[in-house]
């Protein structure tokens, strides 16, 4: 009796996991292993190649464009991660004070950009920053002295795309911070306020230490997310010189789809994979430390 129910349980389990497992094996495990294999060949995008051992990896180290892509990706991370987390916390603190429908409306204003497709964000900002007609050229002219073709001027490109990315994705951080703020018991604030603590003290002595786990979580999510940056950087660079502002995923795309070097693109992809896997382990450690507290 018992053995048969256990057999039945196993059979049910197999049936229930089968659809997921099939998709997972074919579309995730296999492509990941295939990527590793491809990285040791000189295959074109479609078709067979020869096994060339570590040649691609050796080449990676002398590849100037790969270095540029790594450098730019790192630069983009620096430009976006900390400002995005800080802005998210600031906005969450501002929104969390409000009550009722004003809170919903204000939160929606900050959150709406996050829900939009990247192409919409791209089209909007290309218009706003248009050299001749863009409305943002007025403040640029006022502060900088002249109009700037932002997406055709290399020193402006990544900082501006970073700024747009923060505007676009900040709503996600705001939501997580608000959820975190709501987990802090209001009694702690009441007690401290009655003891005469100032707003400033309330923030640094109570909010900041108690929200820290969420801050660490948001920061690591952002870090990994921004390392995988492609869409905005690619879209804004179309029609201009893409090489000086190339990021890692864009380099994979260029090698595979524009230069027809599937093998080498897989090598770059593997490098990105290793980088992100290492950081994910780090993130896991951070989160485990957090749950152990």
């Amino acid at each position: 009796m018992l053995a048969s129910t256990r057999r039945a349980e196993r059979r049910s389990a197999f049936i229930l996991i089968a659809p997921f497992l099939l998709i997972y094996l074919v579309l995730f495990i296999y492509p990941t292993l295939k990527m590793l294999e491809l990285s040791f060949t000189n295959a074109p995008l479609i078709g067979e190649g020869d096994w060339i051992y570590f040649k691609n990896y050796v080449r990676l180290f002398g590849d100037r464009l790969f270095k540029t892509a790594v450098w730019n990706t790192g630069y983009f991370v620096v430009l976006t991660v900390v400002p995005n987390v800080a802005t998210g916390l600031l906005i969450a603190l501002m929104v969390d004070r409000l009550k009722g429908w004003t809170q919903s409306v204000v939160l929606a204003a900050f959150f709406l950009p996050y829900i939009l497709p990247v192409s919409v964000v791209f089209l909007m900002w290309r218009w706003i920053l248009d050299l001749q007609f863009g409305i943002a050229q007025y403040p640029i002219e006022f502060f900088y002295g002249e109009r700037v073709p932002v997406f055709r001027t290399i020193p402006w490109f990544l900082p501006m795309v970073g700024l747009i990315t923060i505007w676009w994705t900040n709503g996600f951080n705001v939501l997580l911070f608000i959820a975190g703020l709501r987990n802090i018991s209001p009694e702690i604030y009441d007690a401290a306020a009655l003891d005469g603590a100032s707003r400033w003290q309330l923030f640094w002595k109570i909010t900041w230490p108690l929200i820290w786990p969420v801050t660490a979580l948001v920061a690591t999510i952002q870090l990994i997310l921004q390392l995988k940056i492609f869409d905005q950087v690619y879209l804004f660079s179309v029609g201009g010189r893409s090489e000086p502002t190339m990021v890692l995923v864009q380099y994979i795309y260029q090698e595979a789809f524009q230069r027809n070097r599937g093998g080498y693109a897989a090598t770059v992809a593997t490098a990105l994979f290793v980088l992100i896997a290492a950081l994910s382990v780090l993130q896991y450690q951070v989160l485990r430390a957090r749950s152990a507290e």
Partner: protein, 296 residues
């Protein structure tokens, strides 16, 4: 110095002092609230500016100065986009592929999450760990091999080709597993004794217990699939098979950029997800906090 009044501590300030303190507090609070409103308006302004541009005729769009409301109100940009591009097809492609991704992801994640949470079978722990480990693989790194695979399947430039690589959303399985973990296993055993099977249990009892979770996950999966850019951009090469997010970046005219028309396309592309958010605001929030592992 303070006096104890029952459980609450009151600071020993005179009534007048307390009043003055309260008032100062309120003025600071009022200032903060106004600053928040101002900041929110600045933040949302680009959205407004894009919207209002689509309602202007092209000659007005390129006039210098800031005109917050169209002098001549027109829907010309929208009629142009609707009549002169394949936007109807792009909409259909986006709708079909995003709906398919949502249904398949929710179904496979719910069944798999249920099995991992409620059933005991060999390989259960290994499966769970593998799913957890898959967070480490950036899906963007797989574009090369996904492209080769879809090409071998002959699914490039088809709906199936856009759908398949987007089915990898391991976080949904994890959220379901954690949700089902809150239900004691005795519950299942009793139901099985009564002659129910696991499929019935899952779809008639466990999922209906809290449709909210499924709704939230479905909405966020749909929005994610609708907004996807990189893969739909790679998987198609003809105007007929584009998703709307890819299509609207292709609206060019022989006379250079025409912003009202381009932005009209953008508004149409963003409208479904913006509406989905505004209607299901609470569910979207829930899904985001759930998948980040924070209990809101």
């Amino acid at each position: 110095m303070s006096v104890e009044t029952g459980r609450i501590k009151l600071p020993t300030v005179g009534a007048e002092g307390a009043y003055r303190k309260l008032r100062a507090f309120d003025i600071a609070g009022l200032f903060l609230t106004l600053a928040t409103f101002a900041f929110a308006i600045i933040w949302a302004f680009p959205l407004y500016w894009a919207m209002v541009t689509t309602l202007k005729p092209e000659y007005e769009v390129v006039q210098p100065g800031v005109r917050l409301w169209p002098e001549t109100f027109t829907l010309e940009a929208y009629t142009y986009i609707l009549l002169n591009t394949k936007i109807g097809l792009w909409y259909l492609n986006s709708l079909v592929t995003s709906a398919a991704v949502t249904i398949i992801v929710i179904f496979t994640a719910a069944t798999c999450g249920y099995a991992i949470s409620q059933l005991r079978f060999p390989g259960r722990r290994l499966l769970y760990l593998t799913i957890m480990a898959s967070f480490m693989v950036p899906i963007q790194a797989l574009i090369v091999t996904h492209f080769v695979l879809m090409s071998n399947f002959g699914t490039l430039n088809t709906w199936l080709g856009i759908i398949l690589p987007q089915l990898i959303v391991p976080v949904v399985v994890i959220v379901y597993k954690q949700f089902f973990d809150s239900i004691p296993r005795d519950f299942r055993e009793a139901a099985i004794m009564d002659g129910a099977n696991d499929l019935q249990l899952l779809f008639r009892i466990y999922l209906p217990m809290n449709w909210g979770v499924t709704t939230a996950l479905a909405i966020i999966t749909f929005i994610g699939a609708w907004n996807a850019f990189l893969w739909p951009f790679l998987a198609q090469s003809s105007e007929e098979t584009m998703n709307i997010t890819v299509g609207v970046t292709q609206v060019h005219s022989a006379f250079g950029v025409q912003y009202a028309r381009e932005l009209a396309g953008a508004v149409l592309a963003g409208l479904p997800v913006a509406l989905a958010y505004l209607i299901f605001q609470r569910r979207v929030t829930q899904a985001i906090t759930l998948s980040a592992g924070i209990k809101g």
